[in-house]
């Protein structure tokens, strides 16, 4: 089968329904049996400013938003002017009739009279759905798929559904009548029995589903872009499973409530973005010190300070792994894709509960908001998070209980309020095994060892494939080390470079604290060059890698607020290859 791979970018004014247009179109393609990967940027303001929604549609699984734009859908002049530069030389422009394109060259132009079509339907707000229908028609997607998606997504209210279906049909038929078909952008029709089974999920949804699958039953949070979607999703689902969700008064309260609920025995989490994690850091230290299991999701956005709330970044790695006063062990995990969001969330709960240590999951804006087609989750092999509780005697009492008993693994049984004989005070001061405060130097050293020993125990018990994933050569000459959502661009760059005959491979480290030093060292053993692409200014991951690598790594840094493209990485792999 020919590989089809098409990037469609939609641009227009915020408030025009650009995101709906993009989502509807993406879902139509997914319903038709194609793989999708979307990318969106939008202004922080609710209305006003340019919105951009891009979708990549393919017959094979996608890991990045791609390097070029094949089809530009411009709903206004600014969208056209701003995005033309990224459109392929043989690309296609579908533009509203208000746009004045500079026609010519190898590109094709399709003029779409959106306002006229909307007027005919007496549905001025339907321009976006008309456009979705027209683009779907031109790309050769079947009308039945289009109607299915509109019924599913925009069908809550009867009259609105009728209007939206009319708008969709109007655009679709207009394209069929007025737009000459173009092979360059035609998508294949996948027969029903050949359509892969897929879920369409955003990163935030996959994280939320992972939390539910891991048995999370308590969430407290404070709204913050781009993490709010997690709270909103769980607000609908947790009560149905008997769980509780609280919108707290601030991020400190949110994490304090999570700590309290976990202390009471609940599997608990919060979700926030960088500014919120900054506020939570003192309580993160408390959770580490008092050995309370919990999960914090940080959907990173470009900082510092308020920064770029709607743009992506990977600049909270230091904060997550090292943030806080004193030295407080924690787990830090980073999913590499929407699918991986689900599994890393389960792993975060597993590590947190098993080792009574807070776990931070680092997502980012682009990962959180985009939609991807995802294969169904393997629910049977999921880890079952388990917390070590004290054993009870025949009368149901805890005997000779010491909450922070020093053990070989570092993990001590945790009694829960309500268990007779298990009373203790979770103590933020340094404490004796009983929990009573103590400032004795020898005890402090022993307790520091105990808390940090849990990370070592966890590392020894975790399978290598749960710590990092790789692609390309297993012993590459040019090793690309990355983390988080940057992995997708690395995978494609490595694949391309290998086709060019370059010995290269990529390793995405999912467990960032504690770092799996051995896995990293093995991967770079034969490499003459180590490249570390990441979305921050100071090369935070490269800094963390200094100890395990014990050699110079070459950072590739992007910090403008948009994700890496495969080309960004490929260029550096080629340079490293030529340099040899």
């Amino acid at each position: 089968m020919t590989v089809h791979d098409l990037v469609v970018r939609v641009g227009g004014e915020s408030g025009e329904g650009i995101v709906t247009l993009g989502e509807v179109l993406s879902r139509i393609a997914a319903h038709a049996g194609l793989e999708i990967y979307t990318f969106r940027t939008y202004p922080a303001e609710i209305r006003g400013g340019q919105v951009l929604y891009q979708m990549r549609i393919s017959t094979h699984q996608l890991t990045s938003q791609g390097d070029r734009v094949d089809v530009l859908v411009a709903l206004n002049q600014e969208a056209y002017d701003r995005n033309l530069g990224e459109l392929a030389a043989d690309g296609v422009v579908i533009h509203d009739s208000s746009v004045q394109p500079a026609e010519g060259g190898g590109r094709r132009y399709y003029r779409l009279p959106l306002s006229n079509l909307a007027e005919e339907l007496h549905f001025s707000r339907g321009r976006n759905i008309i456009a979705a229908g027209a683009v779907a028609g031109l790309l050769g997607l079947e009308q039945q798929h289009c109607r299915h998606v509109v019924e599913q997504r925009l069908g809550q209210r009867g009259k609105m559904l009728d209007q939206n279906l009319q708008a969709l049909d109007s655009g679709y038929c207009y394209a069929k009548d007025a737009f000459p078909p173009y092979e360059r952008i035609a998508l294949p029709q996948i027969r029903e029995e050949e359509r892969p089974e897929r879920l369409v999920l955003s990163g935030n949804q996959a994280l939320s589903l992972g939390a539910l699958a891991a048995g999370c039953r308590f969430f407290a949070g404070y709204p913050i872009t781009p993490a709010t979607g997690i709270m909103e999703f769980l607000a609908g689902e947790l009560p149905k499973l008997g769980g509780t969700l609280v919108q707290a008064e601030d991020e400190m309260a949110a994490l304090a409530m999570v700590i309290g609920a976990s202390f009471s025995g609940q599997r608990a989490m919060t979700a926030t973005s960088g500014p919120g994690l900054s506020l939570m850091i003192e309580l993160l230290g408390l959770a580490s010190m008092t050995e309370v299991p919990l999960v914090i999701v940080n959907v990173q956005r470009a900082g510092p300070s308020t920064g770029l709330p709607t743009k992506t970044g990977q600049d909270d790695l230091f904060l997550a792994t090292l943030g806080g006063h004193g030295e407080a062990p924690r787990f830090v995990l980073a999913p590499t894709s929407v699918e991986d969001c689900f599994y890393q969330m389960v792993q975060a709960f597993d590590l947190a509960e098993r080792y009574q240590t807070p776990a931070i999951v680092l997502s980012d804006q682009s990962l959180s908001m985009r939609l991807e087609t995802v294969p169904p989750f393997g629910l049977d092999d999921l880890a079952q998070p388990e917390r070590l509780l004290p054993s009870l005697d025949s009368e149901g009492r805890v005997e000779d209980y010491l909450r922070y008993r020093v053990t070989e693994s570092g993990v001590s049984p945790m009694s829960l309020p309500g268990m007779p004989g298990g009373q203790y005070t979770a103590e933020g001061l340094e404490h004796l095994p009983s929990g009573a405060p103590s400032y004795e130097p020898a005890n402090h050293e022993e307790m520091m060892h105990k808390r940090f020993r849990k990370l070592r125990t966890a590392l020894a018990a975790t399978k290598e494939e749960d710590m990092a994933i790789s692609c390309g050569d297993a012993q590459p000459e040019i090793a690309v080390l990355c983390w988080g959502s940057t992995a997708g661009a690395v995978w494609e760059a490595v694949e391309q470079a290998q086709q060019e005959g370059i010995s290269t491979g990529g390793l995405a480290v999912q467990l960032l604290s504690p770092l799996p030093d051995g896995v990293i060292q093995d991967f770079v053993a034969a490499a003459h060059t180590v490249l570390v692409p990441e979305m921050n200014f100071t090369g935070q991951f490269a800094h963390l890698l200094r100890a395990p690598l014990a050699r110079e790594a070459q950072s590739i840094l992007r910090f403008g607020g948009v994700p890496f493209t495969p080309h960004d990485v490929l260029v550096k792999i080629r340079e490293a290859d030529h340099g040899q």
Binding site: F218, G260, G428
Partner: protein
């Protein structure tokens, strides 16, 4: 079913200065939970930072000595995690009204069923004497050598304005009355705020002052009348002690439980939930 108050001592020796008001609060607390016959494992106490923060360690119960200013959300989480527990939050005037002031209105308006005991000595004691939000204007201290400039808060009026469903004031040197207030506060089905005047003998000894200005709330005061409660709370410099206001309304965890029970009627098992996301 009263029980012996001895069983509630944890065995950890209090670190407070001899003569500290907090001993009176602790003893009243032992007496109150003994009078209520609460099993130690059914009680959980969250605290913040300051002299008051040490309180849970001295009680044979479940405790959480957290960070500065956050005992209320900690206690809220504990209660939501296990609604069967009797949950208290304890703090001092710095913890409650300065660094933690942002949590007070929200715990009150949620009406989470916990008891909030604030031991107010009108000074920062643990850091050796700086003005607190309840210190009098003009007070000369190390951090206010020219006299403190700010007007003190009136926490009882704040609690009433925040819609706390139970508001009381006690004095650490009147342990019998304080015990009775704590019993009522713990029994109150909702957020109960108890201001306890608890002098710092080392940096701000107000024992004599409080003895002079304190008077019991008039017998004919109607505790369901919030306007009358506010009028009593505004009296100055005389101070009333006793119960200003007690008017139960549905508490947070009960409302949540109802909402959850309702939502569970449309319970979706996890694999079915995934169906919603099919391409």
């Amino acid at each position: 079913m009263a029980s012996s108050r001895e069983q509630y001592r944890s065995g950890v020796r209090p670190v407070w200065c001899p003569g500290c008001g907090h001993y009176g609060v602790l003893n009243s607390f032992y007496a109150a939970i003994a009078q209520l016959g609460l099993a130690p494992e059914q009680v959980a106490i969250a605290s913040g930072i300051g002299c008051s923060g040490r309180f849970p360690a001295f009680v044979n119960a479940y405790g959480f000595h957290g960070v500065h200013g956050r005992p209320l959300p900690l206690a809220t989480g504990i209660k939501l995690g296990n609604a069967e527990l009797t949950v208290l939050a304890v703090g001092g005037d710095g913890d409650a009204y300065s660094i933690g002031a942002g949590h007070f209105p929200h715990a009150a308006r949620r009406n989470i069923n916990i008891t909030y005991v604030v031991m107010d000595n009108r000074i920062y004691g643990l850091t050796k004497g700086q003005p607190s939000p309840t210190s009098p204007t003009g007070m000369h201290l190390k951090a206010s050598p020219y006299g403190s400039t700010d007007t003190p808060l009136k926490p009882v009026t704040s609690a009433l304005a925040y819609n706390a469903s139970f508001v009381a004031r006690g004095f650490s040197a009147r342990t019998k009355e304080l015990t009775e207030i704590l019993v009522q506060a713990i029994q109150h089905p909702g957020f109960a705020f108890v201001e306890v005047l608890s002098p710092c003998i080392t940096f701000h000894n107000l024992y004599q002052h409080f003895k002079e200005v304190l008077q019991p709330i008039p017998r004919d005061h109607d505790v369901t009348d919030i306007t009358a409660a506010m009028a009593l709370a505004l009296v100055d410099p005389a101070l009333y002690h006793g119960i200003f206001y007690a008017q139960p309304r549905p508490c947070f965890e009960d409302t949540i439980a109802q909402l959850t029970a309702e939502a569970q009627k449309s319970r979706t098992e996890f694999p079915d939930l995934l169906q919603r996301f099919r391409a």
